[in-house]
Amino acid sequence: MATAPKEFRFGNFVGSLIQLILWILVIVTLVGLPLIFILLFYVPLPPVNGEVLTPYLFFSMMVDPTRTIPIIKFLIHTDLFRVAVFPGFTYAALIAAATIFIERKFLAKMQLRIGPLYAGKIEGILQLIADGLKLISKEIIVPSGADKPIFWTAPVAFVVTAAAVVALIPAAPGWVVADLDVGIIAIFAFLGFFPLIALLFSWASNSKYPFIGGLRALHQMIAFEIPFILSALSVVVLSGSLNLTDIANAQHPYWFVLFLPISAFVFYISSLAELERIPFDLPEAESEIVAGWLTETSGMIYGLIQLGTYVKLYALAALFVILFLGGWSGPQIFPEEIIPGYTGDKIYNAATINAIFWFTLKTLGMIMLILLPRGINPRIRIDILLHTGWYKLIVLAFINIFVALSLVYGGILGPGGLLSA
């Protein structure tokens, strides 16, 4: 960035363009075409206008783009797309990356400063890429005496578990990676892995400060799992099903947060504790136990754990939205057809786009709410935390379960009730 640019010469510019074209041609012929042939041999693609798709037909689509629509439609509905792009990994990773950036800027504004400013042209928007590159280039130091298999696999397991939780969250009706009938229970089963991973990793680090941090993480996460489950239980009582898509659909006229505000509150506090966010960031208390169970992480291991943490943040925020805020329901603001009068195949589905829009908006709002206490509160102490988790939150969650039960048995909500659709 501090070097003077070379002087511009038109001949060099033309030469570089020709080089680019040469390389594109070489790669397409030597690598691209064989790949297409192999793909078409193994992947069954739908016929277009009654003809089987061949590579030559594929190239002719450049002339008439509408012919590509059935292919795209087919690809969108495959499993691979769901896992990799939406609502799976890419969507979660993008929201996680956006969350990290929003967090830094949001906190900065609260603290009367600016936040990342220099990376990228607009207000430091490429800061994440800079951080990612930095983390990749750092040396991973494994402490002597550390338990190497667990040390290397625990961060990967962390990301994998977080991704597993994301896989169960529906982002739009019909769009979920794994549609289980026992969705909620599966989510809590996955969340129960996290204390174990934290403890294993802290033990494998073979050092005193991670040891204390791991024990604290264990205490904290286990203490808050029960209020978590109990608050979700009240939602299950009201909606009558464990499937997440059904729960989101059951909130059609009224969102559950209106009937279960206390449960929503308990769920919010418990998710702050699960995510180890301030004010509950004892396991990583910087001034007391250096960095808690993350002390010995460096380089990409730290990067993986941060990625896992923010993916988990997205997952829990999305879960809150589905359980309490009505999932994807919202007024229809997208028009039925974007090109009026078009009668052929189309991939634009107004209801789905609307659902995705409202879901993303609510999730982002919930994420901001989770980020907010970081600017306001100091860290809590372990005995106050355990007292809160085991006594106060369980009592509050029970109160709302009774409220939910009385609503269902009173015939107001639930199947066949007065207020349900």
Partner: protein, 386 residues
């Protein structure tokens, strides 16, 4: 295993302080050492039983520079720049006391306007130091806003001090005989404006920091230092005033023009960490009143520095003078033997005296209370080491 035994024997022979832990030993030894985000340039070794601290041993000396020995090699005026370094933020106070002692030894009269400017710089420095201390307290408790806001507001005072003295920290402003230069044009209005803005900010601090239920939960009832213990341990400064003893050197033995300034000693009776963190905040509020009075009562013109010979010296004698700095009573004991260089300089700093309370308070408390107790003792590691 033999290799390990050998290594342990070697280190014990070298006189280092490593405790060997056996398997059946419940206690875990932690070194809250110099490489720790929660300790500063200071180390204390603690032994932890579960979550409770059972033993604490402070180990200062990581930044020991031999200030007292260095003073014997330079004359009275040459000593000022290096004497400021132990406490860079509050540097006018540590040289204020030195200047008072030298003035008594060499019988130098300071002009009145110089005395007022000295006191003004001292009060501004007190604000700067207390804000820095408050910011670090925020980090220790995990409250990042409590770190950012005081640091931001501190910049206002540092700008004022830069306009007054020419440097942001370590101003080298006090010299025996007065101050180095007069206040610039427009300083008075600027200073009054900043002080007014700062008082508004202090009310905001009160809302978000001191009325925050989590902050209160972490500091109330923690690290109780009763009045008798505070007297016996000889602590000083805000730690003493938080245990119910209204002692302030500016009121007990007023130096310079402090007997003409009207202010109240801020003290609290609850003796816990919350009191120790609130007393400096109240001191800051009081300091704003003092700054206003100083600016009003300052004589409109006059010399700011006494005329001195190039190597000031006085007859053989000794002198002990103390000043209220951000940490407590800062005393200088200077022995002069008639030459321009002092014979012996002993600095008695508030941090060193307050360090005695650290093992006393930490033993029996929880590990999570360690930062809130340690930093509430207003301990500045560099100053204690000199």
């Amino acid at each position: 295993m033999d290799n390990l035994e050998q290594k342990f024997n070697e280190t014990i022979k070298m006189g280092l302080d490593i405790v060997k832990e056996t398997e059946e030993d419940r206690l875990m030894t932690l070194s809250v050492g110099p490489q720790h985000p929660g300790s500063g340039h200071f180390r204390f070794t603690i032994k932890v039983d579960g979550d409770y601290i059972v033993y604490c041993d402070p180990d200062p000396g990581y930044v020991h520079r031999g200030e007292e020995k260095m003073c014997e090699y330079r004359n009275f005026i040459q000593n000022i720049p290096h004497l400021e370094r132990p406490i860079i933020h509050d540097s006018t106070n540590i040289t204020y006391s030195y200047s008072l002692a030298v003035e008594e030894l060499a019988n130098i009269q300071v002009p009145l306007r110089g005395q007022y400017i000295r006191a003004l710089a001292s009060e501004l420095n007190r604000q700067v130091y207390t804000l820095y201390w408050l910011a670090i307290y925020g980090i220790f408790l995990g409250h990042s806003t409590m770190f950012m806001w005081p640091m931001g507001d501190r910049e206002l005072f540092i700008d004022l001090l830069e306009a007054l003295t020419g440097a942001r920290v370590t101003h080298a402003f006090n010299i025996p005989g007065g101050v180095r230069n007069d206040i610039p044009e427009g300083f008075r209005d600027r200073c009054l404006r900043q002080v007014e803005y700062f008082e508004k900010r202090l009310t905001e601090y009160e809302d978000i920091f001191y009325n925050n239920p989590l902050f209160r939960q972490r500091t109330e009832g923690v690290g109780i230092l009763t009045k008798d213990n505070a007297i016996k341990l000889g602590v000083t400064g805000s730690v003493l005033r938080a245990s119910g003893i209204p002692f302030d050197v500016r009121k007990a033995e007023p130096y310079d023009i402090y007997d003409q300034i009207d202010f109240k000693i801020q003290y609290m009776k609850t003796c816990d960490s919350f009191a120790r963190s609130t007393v400096p905040f109240l001191d800051m509020k009081e300091s704003c009143h003092i700054i206003r009075q100083l600016l009003d009562k300052m004589p409109k013109s006059g010399e700011v520095r006494a005329k001195l010979q190039p190597n000031p010296k006085g007859p053989p004698g000794e002198s002990y003078k103390r000043v209220e700095s951000g940490r407590g009573a800062l005393g200088y004991y200077i022995v002069s033997d008639g030459t321009p260089k002092p014979y012996r300089v002993k600095i008695s700093v508030g941090s060193f005296r307050n360090m005695l309370a650290l093992p006393f308070l930490l033993v029996g408390s929880k590990l999570a209370d360690m930062p809130s107790i340690y930093w509430s003792l207003n301990y500045w590691p560099v100053e204690a080491d000199r």
